[in-house]
């Protein structure tokens, strides 16, 4: 069946039920026509399980991060209508009832991540506080009528969830019939609460028993800024009239700043709200946690290369601040890696490596031999071993296993030492190596960090740290190293502890030492008054200081810094210097950028710069080759084909958005791109 028609734009194709394949998601694995088909299944499974792990991990992180916020919100909600619970009739309370309890939730500009937060929030609320939660979005509520409709629809549906399912139909119908107004909402609320009251406790469901007798109705405005002010104002004014009948609580999701409430609502309206402010975690901290938990850990065998990480971070920082997008990018990295790298089958947990290495086929062994890092490794071996590595598959497998295990150990150590180094660099003035650990991580991945100027200057600065700072940092390092799973750090820990005790010993000796060091030059300085002598003494002073014997503390400080330096040099070797790094590190930054941060405009321009296009499209150019003086006189002879091609070229340019009809004269077009009218 063709999909061309002059009367139809949509075509549905349904295969006969016999032919229709059962939806098997695993059916679409890494089968690729050009690739060898072996291991693809295994690779796909590994990829999927890895991704699922990471996904659940990120969700867990998100939940943990939001926990504090959600707890605060829940306690606020339970407080907000406590008076209503007790059914007090005091006058003061009534006055207070005119105010709607409102939570202003400042969530930050990463709007796309808010969905997850709100979903978590409404789940928590429904579990703990009230079954009546309505989530409203600005795009559904262009007017107050739509808002009420949406609100009631959601509230009555959630009522069904609590109720037994048998009377679903009648509610469904009534929802359509009911006039959407506040009184009908109140009568609905009354009826539901009475129903639950009258029900015997035994019949109640577990979930509803956790709620109070008259649970509040929570209305969440997901994106408060996008609502029209009129709708918001109307809703607030109307509902404040009924607040003593309907225990309403509002939650505003705010992307910018709490000031927006006052800008959107006039004083007369905002005075009807009793606002409490809640601040969610900033997206940057969220990202740091994610990077910390996903990348700087040895739990996951898959790693990101420097360029790739940089691309992802740049997209985050310069485009959207969206952690979800970052994770999406990460997912794409995983998929790309497992799809394009046949050896990624070895990118698995340590326990599986042995089995997988030994089941490698000959072709895969050849793939290993083709890896640049492996070739570099082979060249360094003596000739006998070289031949073995290049010809003997089983020897190669043994060696591969060893190398992979080495790589794993390397990574464990890398992370611990990176954290230690970060302890130092993050407290230096001006942060020569960056404030965040991700910056340090990128720097270390990029090249040998100890060869960079920034590292040099941070060591300089570290040599000037005072004692208390130094001691606390050393203590932190010791903690990190103890917590790390690397086995090589016993000596390092010992050494650091030794430093710590030395510092403690110093404290005692220091006081007496300090006194007799340099009082005299200072005094001399005060005596001399004339310029020449002053200059001379200052020079002498400088000279003496240079040659001056260092205090014990200073010597110790130098030792500490040197030791840290030696650790860095030993463990923070960039990953691409390691053999077989291609198996676990994903480095195709260009691919990633192309898929996530594409530039369609550039692609179009590049293509249009292609002379081929001109030759094909523009009739004048086409004709110029044949008859240079193609003017009005010769236009009669214009070939039909060229004319047709010209017409098409114009249509295509219109489709591409370069020109549009000017409407000023017939046939005239206005240029749209490259600075048109």
């Amino acid at each position: 069946m063709s999909t061309c028609s002059v009367s139809k734009g949509c075509f549905v194709f349904k295969p006969s039920t016999k032919k229709r394949r059962l939806s098997d998601k695993t059916g679409h694995d890494f089968r690729c026509p050009s690739n060898d088909s072996e291991d693809t299944q295994l690779r796909f499974v590994t990829c999927q399980s890895l991704w699922n792990q990471i996904k659940s991990e990120t969700e867990q992180i998100q939940e943990d991060l939001n926990k504090q916020l959600l707890d605060n919100l829940v306690s606020f909600l339970s407080r907000s209508h406590s008076d209503f619970q007790e059914k007090t009739t005091e006058w003061t309370c009534r006055m207070k009832f005119r105010e709607i309890p409102t939570a202003a939730l400042v969530l930050g500009v990463n709007v796309t991540d808010h969905d997850l937060t709100f979903r978590g929030l409404s789940d928590v609320l429904q579990d703990n506080i009230t079954p009546y939660v309505a989530l409203l979005e600005a795009k559904d509520c262009p007017g107050i009528k739509n808002l009420m409709q949406k609100l009631m629809g959601q509230l009555m549906n959630c009522d069904i969830d609590v109720d037994s399912m048998d009377d679903e139909d009648c509610v469904q119908v009534s929802q359509n019939r009911i006039r959407c107004s506040m009184p009908s909402l109140i009568s609905w609320y009354d009826s539901v609460t009475k129903k639950t009251d009258s029900e015997t406790p035994s019949k109640k469901r577990n979930s509803s028993s956790r709620h109070w007798r008259s649970p509040p109705v929570v209305v969440i405005f997901k994106d408060m800024e996008s609502f029209t002010t009129k709708v918001l104002q109307d809703f607030i004014v109307i509902s404040s009239q009924h607040i003593h009948e309907l225990p309403l609580v509002l939650i505003f999701g705010i992307a910018t700043s709490p000031m927006i409430i006052h800008r959107l609502l006039p004083h007369s309206v905002s005075s009807l709200l009793c606002i409490e402010l809640f601040q969610s975690l900033s997206c940057k901290e969220h990202l740091s946690t994610i990077i910390d938990k996903l990348l700087l850990t040895s739990r996951f065998p898959f790693k990101l290369g420097e360029k790739v990480l940089q691309v992802l971070i740049n997209i985050f920082l310069y485009h959207d601040f969206s952690v979800q997008n970052f994770i999406k990018g990460f997912q794409l990295c995983i998929v790309e890696h497992f799809y394009s790298q046949p050896l990624s089958v070895l990118c698995c947990h340590l326990v599986d490596i042995k089995k997988r290495v030994y089941s490698l086929s000959h072709d895969q062994c050849e793939n290993i031999r083709r890896l640049p890092s492996f070739r570099r490794y082979v060249e360094k071996q003596e000739s006998g071993k070289q031949i073995e590595l290049l010809t003997n598959d089983s020897f190669l497998k043994e060696e591969t296993q060893k190398l992979l295990e080495d790589l794993h150990v390397y990574h464990e150590n890398y992370v611990s030492i990176l954290r230690c180094l970060h302890v130092f660099t993050s407290s230096l003035p001006k942060y020569p190596l960056g404030k965040q650990i991700r910056e340090l991580h990128c720097a270390c991945l990029e090249n040998r960090v100890w060869e960079t100027e920034e590292y040099e200057s941070s060591l300089q600065l570290a040599r000037m740290l005072n004692k208390t700072d130094l001691v606390t940092m050393l203590q932190q390092c010791v903690e990190i190293l103890i917590a790390s799973s690397g086995k090589e750090f016993d000596r390092a820990i010992e050494k650091l502890k030794e430093f710590l005790t030395q510092f403690q010993n110093l404290e005692v000796a220091e006081a007496s030492q300090e006194r007799d060091v340099s009082v005299s030059p200072q005094k001399e300085l005060q005596k001399k008054t004339d310029l020449y002598h002053l200059q001379k003494t200052l020079l002498e002073l400088k000279e003496s200081r240079r040659s001056k014997k260092l205090t014990k503390f200073e010597m110790l400080r130098f030792e500490v810094v040197d030791y840290i330096d030696s650790l860095v040099r030993r463990y923070l070797v960039p990953a691409d210097n390691r053999t077989l790094h291609e198996i676990v590190y994903f480095n195709a930054a260009a691919v990633l950028r192309g898929h996530l941060n594409a530039a369609p405009r550039t692609a179009l321009h590049t293509a249009l710069n292609n002379p081929h296009w001109y030759l094909k499209a523009f009739s004048t150019v086409v004709m110029a080759a044949e008859e240079p003086n193609a003017d009005a006189a010769s236009s009669d002879q214009v070939d039909d084909v060229i004319h047709a091609r010209f017409i098409r070229a114009v249509s295509e340019l219109e489709l591409l958005g370069f020109i549009k009809p000017s409407k000023q004269k017939t046939d005239h077009v206005a240029r749209l791109t490259w600075g048109g009218c």
């Binding site: 075509f11 796309t112 997912q331 692609a603 179009l604 094909k616 219109e654 077009v669 749209l672």
Partner: protein, 573 residues
Amino acid sequence: MSRPEGMRSSRHSLQVKFVPDEDVLKHITDDTGTKVRKEKAQLSVSVKRFVKKLENISDNEAQEILEEKNYVAALGICTQDAVGNGSNISGGEVYSFQTPKRSNKMAELASELAQTPEQNVSPDHSKCPEKMAKTPQNSKLSSSNRVQQTSKKKEFVSTTPYRLRKRLAAPDPYLESESEYSASCSEEEEDEEEQKEVSTIISDQKTPAKTKAASTPPHRNSLAKKRKAQKMGNLVEEYFEAHSSSKVLTSDRTLQKFRKRRLNQQTLYDLLKNAPLAYAAEIRDLNQQHESLFSKWMLQLHLGFNIVLYGLGSKRDLLEKFRTSLLQDSVHLVVNGYFPSITVRSILNSITEEVLDHIGTFRSPLDQLEFITKRFKEDSSLELYVLIHNLDSQMLRGERSQQILAQLSSLPSIYLIASIDHINAPLMWDQAKLSLYNWLWYETTTFSPYVEETSYENSLLVQQSGSLALSSLMHVLHSLTLNARGIFRLLAQHQLEKKDNPSYPGLSFQDFYQQCREAFLVNSDLTLRAQLTEFRDHKLIRTKRGADGVEYLLIPVDDSTLTDFLEKEDEDV
């Protein structure tokens, strides 16, 4: 007016006798050295003559003027090298005669010169015939040109007496604007006698055109820097010039004047089909590369991404190939976004009606979307591939349409693969929509012609053959009564008769009624009105009131379509 620094120094350096200048000139042009020297001798004479005048000028004034000159130069007002006389390189660029302001100045100068004795000018005149030919101005002007040029030279040699130079250098572009200020009335009186001096110089000068030509390069070199600034100024000026008038100038050469007949869709298509496709082999290779990505797309679709294709060239064939090779066994929906009357509603309808076999209508697209969402969530075995050609088409690019499509695509069991072509297509999506779409971008530049995409007659140029309009016309009319068809026919015939009259307002109602009565088509004007309402509802006719309040009827279809229609009608009858 022009009293540059060089002036003052020249006063002091009279004793030095131009040695540095000579050096400079030698340094720049070796071969013309002798000629320059000759000229120099003349200059020294004139210098002596006017030296007393120099002293009249206070240093203060000179300084002021200098500053002004710098300022003006920096502003870049002195420009016009583009309009300059091409053949006369330095002259054309340095003194630009063609600007209106300048030509005024020139006219003034010319009229002044006209008062000078005729004989003084004429020899000069005869000396430079080629100059005459080049300059559009009168002979006196051209002579003044020469004066300027020589004087200009002198200025650089820095020996000319101030007063004289001032007069002569008036058209100096750098000084143009200040010339208006400094030409005070008192000086005006001196003009006459100065003129004489000028003319004497002119007559004295035996410098042939050659000298001038030879001596131009130095100007050029010394002015290189200034000209750079000039160019900058030029750009600025051109910019404002280009944007000063909102009226866009377009040519009158329309396709109507083009004697070629207009091609209709079918002939166009046939012609293009026969046209050889350039670089077919390369394009095929390119497409094969894209096709190797199919399995990857399939995988990524299943992993929750949606795919968007961009790049030059029609991606329709590529997607079709994807569809036929991989989607044969699954439910899929193809949407031609370029279809002129596609709507989100029709997309949603085909999902609910054909994919989900739902009978019934929905109040709004949002309700429909909700229904689809619910169904897909309930039934996890339900899967749908959606292919949208040109997601960025006129009809689908609206905010609401995109929102709905984005929400649709965010369903885990709906896999969307779409193509975009418009250069600004990504602007349709904000962060929220982008995250719903969850795009993976693929550049698939195919270089294939947009045959299908541009085949509908909503395309901008030429081919309004009206075959669609014609068929809709036929359809509507066939459902009407015989009388109604007759009425319409009458109107159409009348319109065709008047097709040569460009200001034809339409047929007035009264005339029309008369004609219809005569043809026994209606019996009262009420029945005619009822008929017309029917036509109007189907957009077959348009009515408008003329200046005299009479109602005019018009068929809003072009003549060729109308002719076709009448022919077809004749066949039927």
